[in-house]
């Protein structure tokens, strides 16, 4: 019997990936990484890793006599399969390769998942992206007025969702009802599930909503160019994973703005108005009442899906 150290290392890495994915699911931390809609995919990845681990364990020990040709199926062809089968001698290059693969395991197990904060909002372009999104949207809106299905999917694919996955799925009728509801209600309540939908509607046609009351929560984000009494009440919208988070938010006006620190979560009531920011017309919330709240359990927003068929 011969013990293959590298095969054992590989087996352990496969197992560790599986354990890490399962751990994130059971602790509920997974929602800090990906949209819950896609949890099933990463669960199946965890199961696959476990299966591969079981297969890999059989390669740790080989019987000496035929250990040389045992593992490479390809030896029947000209051997150009070019894969590292984990049997060739260990060297620095390989050490680096293993270190790289182990790296995410180490950080995944040891470092806590962090909810994205205002510094990322800034790196994502902050208000520049907000204003940018809007102007592009207006451009797209012209050829197909009030038809959200025709919009450029890159900019707001969130509304053009074809999936029939269980969560946050609306039929076209339900979706239209939602918009009708928004148009008619005197107070707009920005709940998490419809936040991005309402947000898009309000951005598209600010005039329609001017003077309406609005209730929402978000974290404080500030940027140069804002007045002393202004802040951006922001949320992150996660389409798939945290990496594709995009910031959405309203410029808000309240006298105590300068005393509020970035990343503070607040719940506000206010009135919608318009303002001019760097030459673009943007909605602004004149805050009437507000209070500090703790960071919600689900800090991120997920786009709703609309069934088209």
């Amino acid at each position: 019997m011969r013990f293959h150290f590298q095969q054992a290392v590989r087996a352990f890495i496969l197992l560790a990936f599986s354990v890490m994915l399962f751990k994130l699911h059971f602790t509920g931390e997974m929602t800090k990484f990906i949209n819950p809609k896609y949890e099933g995919l990463s669960q199946s990845a965890a199961v696959l890793f476990l299966i591969l681990f079981i297969i890999q364990t059989t390669r740790i020990w080989t019987i000496k006599e035929n250990s040389h040709h045992h593992h490479c199926h390809d030896d029947s062809y000209d051997h150009s399969c070019s894969h590292d089968h984990g049997d060739s001698p260990f060297n620095t290059k390989k050490l680096i390769a293993y270190v790289i693969i182990v790296f995410p395991l180490v950080t995944g197990f040891l470092l806590p998942a962090k909810v994205l904060d205002a510094s990322i909002a800034d790196k994502k372009g902050g208000l520049a992206v907000l204003t940018n999104q809007k102007s592009e949207k207006e451009k797209d809106e012209k050829p197909a007025p009030n038809n959200s299905q025709q919009k450029d999917p890159v900019i707001n694919g969130d509304l053009v969702d074809l999936s029939r996955l269980e969560e946050l799925v609306y039929t076209k009728d339900e979706y239209n009802q939602l918009i009708q509801h928004l148009l008619q209600s005197s107070t707009i309540k920005m709940n998490d599930d419809i936040f991005s939908t309402y947000y898009d509607e309000i951005q598209t046609d600010i005039e329609k909503f001017k003077g309406r009351e609005i209730e929402l929560k978000g974290f404080v984000y500030k940027e140069e160019g804002l007045e002393q009494d202004q802040l951006v009440l922001s949320r992150f919208l996660i389409t798939h994973c945290v990496a594709d988070a995009s910031i959405i938010g309203f410029i808000s006006e309240l006298p105590e703005a300068s005393s509020l620190k970035e990343n503070t979560w607040i719940e506000v009531k206010g009135v919608l108005d318009t303002t001019n920011f760097n030459g673009t017309e943007l909605p602004i919330i004149k805050i009437t009442t507000w209070k500090k709240i703790n960071e919600p359990k689900e800090p991120y927003l997920y786009p709703i899906s609309v069934k088209i068929l």
Binding site: M1, L14, L21, Y38, I55, W61, D74, I120
Partner: protein
């Protein structure tokens, strides 16, 4: 006798590894760092892991399919179908490549074997370009990455196919011969695998998938980390300025695709993360160029083909993608 010992040892080792992993798990849950980590590093780590977690299922499916192909499809099957006519051969090879769900990590050795066995170089290149770009997993992941919309996925496949055809046509005009660095020795024993039982072949398919995972795992991790690093530390404003025009934004994204060397099964998610910074045309450049040729792939090709040939193909790919996207960008 050996068998009994062997079986027990395997189970024992497996259990030991599981125990070790569980120890690690319990250690990590009670683990508290003695020093504070700057929040930006935690942000970096979160984004890095989220890219990985999102990409891993697709990578695993990819290596499993690659394993199936490596074991169950022989090059002879493909070679038999390639016609003598150059143009027909190119169209054929591009279609075969599109049907052949390879990953760019595994396609270079396959192409080398194909060329060694007498497949003309232009057909091999067509196959190499469409193989990683057009396949069900890439379509599925692109479709999902861009908010379950088929437009980007469709454009990626359609334009990519066109670019592959054009590159292969130019290659057939410019380059002759095999262009291999050194002739490879084709061994004579090709019958053994047919004698192997189905279960042996299935088993070797799975082990092959594991090897493939470790082969490309490091590139995936590096790519995810670089992408996360860019997101955490590079202000989007700098990128917005660097890539404000169509030409410059396309150049930035194509450069990024080349340097990141992402696996085609996972790059859609990373491309999508730039979609609120860059125009669609630049994102398409990223999505089409990445799977065809990148830093990692170039290195692999240099170990197989002549330097002049590799650089020639790279220049062809870049210029044809660039021109194609500039031509169609007003329509998308």
């Amino acid at each position: 006798m050996y068998r009994v010992v062997r079986n027990n040892i395997i189970e024992f080792t497996g259990i030991m590894l599981i125990v070790l992993a569980l120890l690690l798990l319990s250690f990590s849950t009670s683990f508290k760092l003695s020093f504070d980590i700057p929040p930006s590093l935690l942000n970096l780590n979160t984004i890095f892991l989220s890219i990985l977690i999102e990409a891993l299922p697709f990578v695993l499916i990819g290596v499993l399919i690659a394993g199936v192909i490596q074991i169950f499809v022989t090059e002879e099957h493909i070679q038999r179908w390639i016609p003598k006519n150059k143009v027909l051969a190119i169209i054929m090879s591009c279609i075969i490549g599109a049907l052949f769900p390879a990953c760019e990590c595994g396609i270079v050795p396959i192409v080398r074997r194909l060329v060694g066995k007498g497949v003309p170089i232009h057909a091999a290149i067509g196959f190499m370009l469409t193989g990683p770009l057009i396949n069900p997993i890439v379509i599925a992941s692109t479709y999902m990455a861009f908010g379950n919309d088929f437009k980007i996925a469709g454009l990626r496949m359609g334009l990519g196919f066109f670019v592959a055809l054009m590159v292969a046509l130019f290659v057939s005009v410019i380059f002759k011969g095999k262009q291999l660095k050194s002739p490879i020795h084709t061994s004579t024993s090709q019958t053994r695998s047919k004698k192997e039982s189905l279960s042996t072949r299935f088993w070797s398919m799975l082990t092959h998938s594991i090897d493939e995972f470790f082969d490309m795992g490091k590139y995936l991790v590096m790519g995810a980390f670089l992408a996360a690093f860019v997101q955490t530390y590079l202000p989007a404003k700098a990128l917005l300025e660097a890539g404000s025009g169509t030409v410059s934004s396309l150049s930035v994204m194509m450069g990024l695709a080349y340097v990141l060397s992402l696996c085609s099964e996972a790059d859609a998610f990373i491309g999508a993360s730039f979609s609120n910074i860059f125009p669609t045309s630049a994102i398409l450049g990223f999505l089409i160029f990445g799977p065809m040729m990148d830093l990692k792939n170039t290195l692999m090709m240099l170990s197989v083909f002549r330097m002049k040939f590799v650089i020639g193909v790279l220049a062809l790919i870049i210029s044809i993608i660039f021109m194609t996207i500039m031509l169609v960008q007003s329509f998308i």
